[in-house]
């Protein structure tokens, strides 16, 4: 008798009350253990996402019931709202400069702090520490540093004969000031780079040295390729974080009579505009449409980066066609 037939016969003879198989039991317990997360996800993430998708098709100002307006919010957003494009432009401009700067600074810092020098643990702590300070405190601290008349930055510039700009008070300098401010938390990326650097086997460097590779060659042919998965990770996180940039601008401009995103809307980031629509103009339907467009933008950018990773991210042990 063939083995399959025996199995079939056994299955058909299985009594109804027979206990669950080990595999099923494990699966059940697995679901039970992840159920807090699943329930939380459904209630606090998926549910609101679906609600916001539906609200984006309505005119809803909170005080009165939503009115279904089909795709009007999306049509207005793309065809009749210059502030949408402006806020997107501000965000993209910021992202194009802040993300590469943060990647490079974090990486260089990690390289420096990966050297075997006395007191390195102290320096690592010093450089990492700022990134654990909350965004609100950072914004307040930097708004003092950037104060045009009494800030320490312009005072330092004046020592070398430079008449410092208005920084956050100037429409031309507000975004550059925020880019400088973003470097404050470069320690977060640095610590991830550092862990990546320390996982590179020293044998690679020893072999390269024996072959006569100099420091630059070792950096470009060993370190960077092997660190590319970490750079990739930091890039994806950087893109997502930058397109959600909000707290610092909110803290700095929330008290202004002109609304959020000043001076003269120079810091009207996408999320700031979204928040203004939701909670300042009480235009929840339109704000929901903005949120979904942002979601799509970030999704597309992330997918593009993932797609491009095949060209520049190297995974050790990966089989390539």
């Amino acid at each position: 008798m063939k083995l399959e037939n025996i199995k079939l016969r056994n299955n058909s003879a299985k009594p109804a009350s027979q206990p669950m198989s080990m595999r099923r039991r494990e699966a059940l317990w697995g679901y039970i253990f992840i159920s807090p997360w699943l329930i939380g996800f459904v209630i606090f993430t998926l549910g609101p996402m679906i609600a916001s998708l539906l609200l984006s098709l309505t005119n809803y100002n909170i005080t009165t019931p939503p009115v279904f307006i089909q795709l009007d919010n999306y049509i207005k957003l793309f065809t009749g709202d210059p502030r949408f494009w402006h806020s997107l432009g501000v965000t993209v401009k910021f992202a194009l400069i802040a993300i590469p700067l943060n990647l490079v600074f974090g990486f260089v810092l990690a390289l420096l702090l990966n050297q075997n020098v006395p007191g390195v643990a102290f320096w690592r702590t010093i450089y990492y520490l700022p990134s654990v300070i909350a965004g609100v405190a950072v914004a307040i601290l930097w708004s003092l540093i950037f104060n045009p008349r009494f800030g320490i930055l312009n005072w330092l510039l004046s020592l070398v004969g430079i008449d410092g700009p208005g920084w956050l008070a100037s429409p031309d300098w507000a975004v550059p000031a925020l880019i400088i401010m973003s470097l404050w938390s470069v320690g977060g990326g640095m610590i991830i780079y550092l862990s990546g650097l320390q996982s590179i086997p020293t044998a690679f460097y020893e072999a390269a040295e024996l072959d006569g590779a100099n420091a630059l060659q070792r950096l470009f042919y060993i370190t960077i390729p092997l660190m590319s998965p970490v750079i990739f990770y930091n890039l994806v996180i950087g893109i997502i974080g930058t397109f959600q940039y909000f707290t610092e601008v909110y803290v700095i401009t929330a008290t202004a009579d002109t609304g959020l995103g000043g001076p003269l809307e120079s810091t009207l980031f996408y999320n700031v505009y979204l928040y203004s629509n939701a909670f300042r103009y009480l235009n929840m339907g339109y704000a929901s449409a903005l949120a979904w467009v942002l979601f799509v933008i970030v999704l597309v950018l992330t997918l593009l980066v993932f797609r491009s990773s095949a060209l520049w991210v190297y995974y050790e042990g990966e089989l390539r066609r």
Binding site: T63, F150, A169, G259, L264, Y281
Partner: protein, 455 residues
């Protein structure tokens, strides 16, 4: 075993249902809870919160049928917090205190209290007339006045002394006290880093260290009325923007000229700079004159490093005198399940003795005539040299209707656009006021059209 477990669960459910049914209905003597939202103005700093909680306790001790509870928000977060409460069907019964801007932000959310006033035959004669008028809108009366904050000219006596100039007048009625005169005085009081005033040929406008006239503290809407315009910048039906002519344009020109032509006023960048811990050049002792509201007088204990006093609001080019005013009141939410009880709480809060105490907490000038003398006396005890009577005298010149913070369609968008236009004038010396106001007019017309199209 399984059967027993099932029975126990069934019993538990049955007993729970029975208990819930018995205990679900409120006992007859259970007091009605009234929630008052604090955040539409003053009242959310730690000291004020503590003092307001004590007042709630006093109310609760003296009222067994109603219990009052304050819920707090900062000004920056009030809109987000209040709208979230509305969306969650958790609307507070009262907003207290609430200013004209807060009323405008959620205009449809407040009920008409005129029927309650009429029903109780409530005596409003003790309130200053313009303060009552301030809260009467074409379709409803929002509340009764708690406190008002009139504007006056604050001036730094030390800087006047140093320049050898006479102080501005101390009472209304001087025909020479105009904004033109303010600018003339300011020219001698504006100094560059070498001590040259604007009348000197050596004056360097890029290195100003002291300004003669810090401008108007309020929003741009406080200015057009001084030039004979409508503060709201639109027609009476709210359908056509009128922001590029008349008082709006003249006001815009006045701001621009004071900064970029006569150089007596600070730029936007200067205003955004912190002045040794102060919020603006005047408080930092770097400006000789400033038009601001009575509430700023309460901030001066912190900045009291110079002698200051107040002068009347000057007349505009057409002879109009307008004291832009902020006000605090209460508003009852349309979503309140107990508006009658909310009205009872509000009445208790604006009774003379309580109103006086609350104004002491919030920093307002009491809106009851019977309390004015006491307020002047109390403030004069704290600042013996300051002419506090002038704040009271300014009530007759207040912008009661329309008020500078009053509702217009698409309120916040119009507000932001207007303030951004004013900021452009303060930021860009090359900006053409006519072009700036033309752009504002077009933008605001778009918001008006959008609003009416949605109706």
């Amino acid at each position: 075993m399984k059967n027993n477990l099932f029975k126990m669960i069934a019993l538990f459910v049955a007993v729970s249902t029975l208990l819930a049914a018995c205990g679900g209905a409120p006992a007859a003597e259970e007091p009605t809870k009234i929630t008052a939202f604090v955040g539409f103005g003053a009242g959310s700093d730690p000291d004020s919160m503590e003092a307001l909680k004590k007042i709630a306790q006093e109310f609760n001790d003296s009222h067994k049928d109603i219990q009052l509870e304050f819920t707090f928000s900062t000004w920056e977060e009030h809109s987000a917090k209040f709208s979230t409460l509305l969306a969650g069907d958790l609307a507070p019964d009262l907003a207290f205190p609430i200013g004209i801007q807060g009323i405008a932000e959620f205009y449809d959310e407040w009920i008409d209290v005129a029927p309650y006033i009429k029903e109780d035959n409530y005596d409003t004669s003790d309130f200053f007339g313009p303060a009552v008028e301030l809260l009467q809108y074409p379709d409803k009366t929002i509340g009764l006045p708690l406190g008002v904050y009139t504007s006056v000219i604050f001036y730094n006596e030390d800087l006047f002394d140093k320049a050898g100039l006479d102080y501005p007048p101390s009472a209304y009625g001087d025909p020479n006290w105009t904004y033109g005169q303010v600018v003339e005085l300011a020219k001698s009081l504006t100094l560059d880093e070498n001590g040259n005033d604007t009348n000197s040929p050596d004056f360097d406008p890029t290195k100003i260290t002291q300004w003669g006239w810090a401008g108007w503290d309020g929003p741009f809407r406080t200015i057009p009325g001084k030039f004979g315009g409508n503060p709201l910048g639109m027609d009476a039906e709210y359908k056509t923007a009128e922001m590029n002519t008349g008082g709006y344009l003249e006001g815009a020109q006045a701001i621009h000229d004071a900064i970029w032509k006569t150089h007596v006023s600070p730029t936007s960048e200067d205003l955004d700079s912190s002045f040794g811990g102060a919020d603006n050049p005047f408080e930092g002792g770097l400006s000789a004159m400033w038009e601001s509201f009575s509430w700023i007088a309460y901030a001066y204990p912190t900045f009291n490093n110079f002698n200051w006093n107040v002068a009347p609001i000057p007349a505009g080019p057409n002879g109009d005198i307008l004291s832009p005013t902020n006000a605090d009141t209460f508003a009852i939410s349309a979503h309140s399940k107990n508006p009658q009880q909310a009205w009872e709480v509000a009445k208790w809060l604006i009774e003379p003795e309580m109103l006086s105490r609350i104004c002491g907490i919030l920093g307002c000038m009491p809106s009851r005539k019977s309390l004015a003398d006491t307020w002047v006396k109390d403030m004069s005890t704290e600042y013996p040299n300051v002419n506090f009577q002038l704040f009271v005298d300014s009530i007759q010149y207040m912008d009661a209707s329309p008020n500078n913070e009053e509702w217009v369609p698409n309120y916040q968008k119009v507000w932001d656009a207007t303030e951004n236009a004013a900021d452009t004038l303060r930021t860009d010396g090359n900006a053409d006021p006519q072009a700036v106001m033309d752009a504002l007019d077009t933008e605001v017309q778009g918001y008006l059209d959008e609003y009416w199209a949605s109706k």
